[in-house]
């Protein structure tokens, strides 16, 4: 059992957090950046696990839109 998985090599969570937050207009004070980056690193580790699963990229995603489904 692995408690935390390593993020992709070279992933700089702190720099990414600063840039991506600016891109979506989310203010993050400098004092909180380290904790946000830690959470992102953890998520990146989980994402890396999925990146290694063969054939996953050609799979149909789970949510399926059906036209007209919500019509009364």
């Amino acid at each position: 059992m692995r408690t935390f998985l390593p993020p992709p090599p070279g992933f700089d969570a702190t720099a990414y957090a600063r840039d991506a937050a600016r891109a979506i207009g989310l203010p993050i004070p400098e004092s909180d950046i380290a904790e946000v980056a830690l959470n992102l690193e953890r998520t990146a580790g989980f994402a890396q696990l999925l990146a290694g699963i063969p054939g996953l990229d050609s799979e149909e995603p789970a949510p399926v839109f059906r036209a007209g489904e919500d019509e009364a």
Binding site: M1, T3, A20, L40, T43, A47, L49, L50, E59, P61
Partner: protein, 461 residues
């Protein structure tokens, strides 16, 4: 007193709903130190009890849950009140204009809402810790976590203060507190019960679920909750499929235990209780869900990303009103790239198919609910079977691995022999086969599983 007993006595006129509510209010007062209640709906409950008693007095039947008091996690809308979902970030929302659909369903069957309950902020946590409202205490030992995020609901049922409570389960928020508090809990199939009037956390994973002290009560309440809600686009157009009438039916339940990812790390009590459950249900196997660890990873990604997107406006305009732990998790979630969530959605389809294949030959699968019993409130790291776990996250590692598949899962708490604390087993069924899940859980109950409610002396005094 059980759901079934209260309802039969009130319907027969042997006990009034008013007496039941008075007794319940006293019990809630007695367990104040659990910090499980955020709002007491005393006046509303008394008025409703009078109405129920009037109905009984005039020969009308108020319904199968007549006079049964119940509590709801404070993310269920209650008419006239702000639905806080355990946060200050929601504190300036408009009051709800009507009750959540699930509350209306239970009250249509004669039940009486009496309290809203404490929870992890915005349902983002498994520990029952809350920066605004304080932590929920476990009635089995007040120093311990009751499990979360539906912590107050499970704690009140475990303490015997209410016989029934509602919660929600996104990654295990019904299943984890069921195990750690030692009650009976059900997460029905994704899309089975309406979520109208329930504050969302992760719309693609949120389920309404419930807690009771035994399986009969769970089945009765679950049946009352089954109602078609055309305002909930996620609810599946299923017929009503009552579980209570067949819960004692004797039939073959082909069972297997899940191994691999679900085998470690396990506290000895969890391992023993899972073994006992497998033995009681004459499980074959074990069998392996190869994608379990990946499914847990995908669920983590979707949760943080969707949760972050849902709360992004609040994180921009009033970040100071979020608790610090939740705020930074949600901020990180709002920044998750689409490449990660897209793979998670693809994994969701693949693991759902993989589980369905395993269930072609099995009606029920068994897995531990948590790696260990409850640990002290405030604990960040906890050693289980030689592995140091980030316990706030890892306590949900076995429930989170199954949540993507949306299948119905019951958990039944059982006292562990070495710790003396509750642990739980997940009883996993096929989509929309809640009746089979509850039948298997009832069989475990008949084999000695389950725990009576308990008010700890230190708090009771």
């Amino acid at each position: 007193m059980s759901v079934a007993t209260i309802a039969s006595q009130v319907r027969a006129g042997r006990v009034t709903a008013a007496e039941t509510i008075a007794r319940t209010l006293a019990a809630l007062e007695n367990c104040r130190d659990l910090n499980a209640v955020t709002h007491l709906h005393a006046d509303r409950a008394r008025a409703r009890a009078e109405d129920i008693d009037r109905q009984v007095g005039t020969g009308k039947d108020p319904g199968p849950l007549a006079g049964v008091p119940f509590a709801v996690k404070n993310l269920f809308d209650v008419a006239g009140q702000i639905t806080r979902a355990g946060s200050r970030a929601t504190g300036r929302n408009a009051p709800a204009d009507r009750d959540a659909f699930a509350i209306r369903s239970l009250e249509a069957a004669g039940a009486i809402l009496i309290a809203s309950t404490n929870m992890d902020e915005l349902a983002y946590g498994f520990a029952g810790e809350n920066a605004h409202d304080g932590d929920t205490r476990n009635p089995r030992d007040p120093a311990l976590s009751a499990g979360g995020s539906s912590s107050g609901s499970s704690a009140l049922v475990a303490a015997g203060a209410v016989p029934l409570a509602l919660g929600t389960d996104t990654n295990g928020s019904v299943r984890v507190p069921t195990a750690l508090s030692g009650v009976a809990g059900l997460k029905p199939t994704y899309g089975r019960l309406s979520r109208s009037g329930v504050t969302p956390f992760v719309r693609s994973l949120d389920h309404v679920g419930l807690f009771a002290t035994d399986i009969h009560d769970l089945a009765l309440a679950y049946d009352a909750l089954q109602a078609r809600d055309h305002n909930d686009p996620v609810q599946a157009p299923r017929p009503l499929e009552p579980a209570a009438p067949g819960v004692d039916t004797s039939m073959t339940i082909r069972t297997a235990r899940l191994n691999g990812y679900f085998d470690a790390p396990l506290h000895p009590d969890v391992r023993t209780v899972t073994d006992m459950a497998a033995q009681a249900l004459e499980a074959r196997g074990p069998i392996t869900l190869d994608l379990a660890e990946a499914a847990r990873a995908a669920s983590f990604i979707l949760t943080t990303a969707e949760g972050g997107q849902h709360h992004l406006p609040g994180l921009i305009t009033h970040p100071d009103r979020f608790g610090p732990l939740v705020r930074d998790r949600l901020r990180a979630g709002a920044l998750v790239p689409a490449a990660w969530t897209a793979r998670a959605q693809k994994l969701r389809r693949r693991v759902t198919r993989q589980l369905a294949a395993l269930m072609r030959d099995h009606d029920i699968l068994l897995a531990p609910a948590t790696p260990c019993p409850a640990c002290p409130l405030g604990t960040a790291e906890w050693e289980v079977a030689g592995v140091t776990l980030p316990i706030r996250l890892a306590i949900g590692m076995f429930t989170q691995a199954l949540t993507l598949t949306g299948v119905p899962i019951a958990v039944l708490g059982q006292k562990g022999a070495t710790s003396g604390l509750p642990v739980g087993v997940q009883i996993i069924g096929r989509p929309f086969e809640e009746a089979t899940v509850l039948r298997a859980a009832r069989r475990l109950e008949q084999a000695g599983f389950g725990m009576a409610p308990q008010m700890p002396e230190a708090i009771h005094a």
